[in-house]
Symmetry: C2
Subunit: 400 residues, 2 copies
């Protein structure tokens, strides 16, 4: 096969219009034994609609990974649309493993940016308790390569453990060195009423935490939990009709990589994080130095380190050092996991990407309470599917 | 909640550009014991890319319903993109039960129509044999409402059986009256090399077919099977650089309804089929009388009848009569299931919507062989998720 169009030019965002987030909704992350999947999704959607003061929408995108496997329910688009009182509208589920939430936001913003629709809602939802079908461990492993990773007995945490082991070997760290990521996340969760674990942990507790898959311990890992978050997206030129604090989506980009870690060029470099982040920087017209806060995908501490390195915030092998130097705290050079991150706010997998964007938007609206980062203008969120195979980066901009 | 923007105007397709299909690919539908999910998807994508003479794409949408439940594999976007040699590009799975295929096509065309991308690929894939996880029957039931239908023991065929029973009662038919749908589909499949059942059946065989869920027999039902189909979509103004027979996508629309049949206003009227079809007619600037052929969603014969009625081709209760009068045959007023339909080409659920669009495109390119419908200009495909909760209609236009 050959490309017959020799002078083909790739043009980004022809004729697309600017879009903004005008409504935010989220449920507390936790074990919701009294709320079903549709209830959680609806709670978040209705909260976001109320926040934006709208009672309709043109399209709903539902980000979810495991509803079929765990809850025995597919077809969430129509199900959630009907349950929130929007029966009839276009509604579709999108899935990209743990990046499903950001994928839903991206589809919603494309729907509005294209001019196709005027009000789009993205909701991410996951109900990991109440196993009707398969176990959560088996479900999460479906983010990995079934034929070449999972079949050999690799669980999802085991894949990340191999990455962490290799990282420690290559760059000369001990497992205790990763503590600052978890300590920072838990410290920030204390002031987030939606966080699953609003309590601090110490580096000592991290060091003696129970081992799950060596060298990953319980305190390296994000929890199994339930939750949902939602955003309402409209054209930027109409955003102030909905809220006095719209947040513009300045950039949105997706990149992929091999699903199986062993197929990647360098297992310790998240190529898709790099590619999606640099596409996003280009769209926003900024560079890594301009980013005021970063909601990164700290499903495991090693993922936080790899994200910082691939997106231009730290040199190779220096992500852990950056955390050790206090640069990721609320008063650091690059505040991360400002509301608790995946580690302490919680990681309801298909919902996480929307939680991240809700939290960045809260910061840019100046509504992050005790965790407010001062003088923020550019906020970035990065959602990772699998061990790095689908990575979606969004950059949000405050309305000054 | 109230809408604060009183004079809000809904504007359809602002600034979007026209898009065309320039490449088609499909695998034979059947029981593919020697091909995995990723192989099937890749066979279709590579065939479509070769057909369009391209070796790259900007984005890949994968339509699939049951890969997690049955094959134990989610994250199909990145998985398939890598396997076809497109590692790195944006790739996402979309799900809308049995309408997942058309949903993938719709996302791909939005990506191009918006100006965001230049070459988009949509692939629908389903592997229903090789059950690694749950049974196919349990999987298909996830298209229905888990909490209010499935939990009471309703399988997906049972829901359709209730609809057929009610249809017979309301409109005075016997189950034998539905035979023309299946007879037509099988007659048309004979000349389709990709069909699972390329052999004719008689009305007598239909009448004595084994009962599955009364009044639905084996010959009312589409089969459990494997398959994948794909299309390449580019801007219309560049389409002739890829093929001398581009097919324009003149309309694309989605509508939803309650997932549970008992929640619908009228269980025998497919409101979402009506809504999506009439939105599509408006976009294309045509009416039902202008449609030259209709690939309908004959997962069960009763669904074919309900589709004809909701989309403006037959009056209420007259869908079966329309088939009995010979109007749906290749030489009839409205040829349907021209390559075998879901019944005889086969219904690999998440792939079906793409097969339908591939087949309409074949007709509009004049490449339907012995089944070519003469003088076709407008072709319609309608893909149904669940028992009618998500319905997606596309209208394609031949380049004259």
């Amino acid at each position: 096969m050959s490309v017959i169009v020799e002078n083909y030019t790739y043009t980004d965002r022809i004729a697309m219009r600017k879009v903004s987030i005008v409504g935010l909704g989220q449920t507390k992350v936790g074990e919701h034994w009294d709320r079903s999947l549709r209830h959680l999704a609806s709670d978040a959607v209705l909260a976001a609609m109320q926040h934006a003061n709208v009672d309709r929408a043109d399209v709903l995108y539902v980000g979810n990974m495991l509803s079929g496997e765990i809850a025995g329910q597919e077809h969430l688009g129509a199900l959630v649309a009907d349950f929130v009182g929007l029966r009839g509208i276009e509604a579709i589920k999108v899935e990209a493993a743990c990046a499903s939430g950001a994928a839903a936001v991206r589809q919603a913003l494309i729907a509005v940016a294209s001019g196709m629709t005027e009000i789009a809602i993205a909701v991410g939802v996951e109900k990991m308790t109440d196993e009707v079908g398969t176990s959560v461990t088996s479900g999460l492993a479906m983010a990995a390569d079934g034929d070449y990773e999972t079949i050999h007995g690799l669980s999802f945490v085991a894949i990340n453990a191999l990455l962490m082991q290799r990282y420690m070997y290559e760059f000369g760290y001990q497992r205790e060195d990763f503590a600052p990521f978890a300590v920072n996340a838990h410290a920030n969760a204390v002031n987030n009423p939606y966080a699953m674990f609003p309590r601090p942990i110490s580096a000592e507790a991290f060091a003696r935490a129970a081992m799950i898959a060596s060298p990953i311990s319980l305190l390296d890992s994000s929890p199994i939990c339930d939750g949902a978050a939602a955003v309402v997206i409209v054209p930027s030129d109409q955003a102030t009709a909905f809220t006095d604090k719209p947040v513009r989506i300045a950039a949105s980009a997706t990149a992929t990589d091999a699903v199986a870690v062993h197929d990647r060029h360098d297992p310790l470099f998240l190529q898709a994080a790099h590619d999606s982040a640099y596409k996003a920087y280009l769209q926003a017209g900024i560079g890594p130095r301009d980013v005021d806060l970063f909601e990164l995908h700290d499903a495991f501490t090693v993922m936080a380190a790899l994200s910082l390195e691939a997106t231009g915030f730290a040199e190779r092998g220096k992500g852990v050092a950056m955390a050790q130097n206090g640069e990721i705290g609320l008063d650091g050079r690059l505040p991360t996991a400002t509301m608790g991150g995946l580690k302490a706010r919680g990681h309801p997998v298909g919902a996480t990407g929307v939680y991240q964007i809700v939290e960045v938007a809260q910061q840019l609206r100046g509504e992050a309470g005790a965790n407010q980062v001062p003088n923020v203008h550019w906020g970035m969120a990065q959602n990772i599917g699998g061990s790095g195979a689908t990575i979606i980066t969004h950059i949000l901009e405050a309305l000054d």
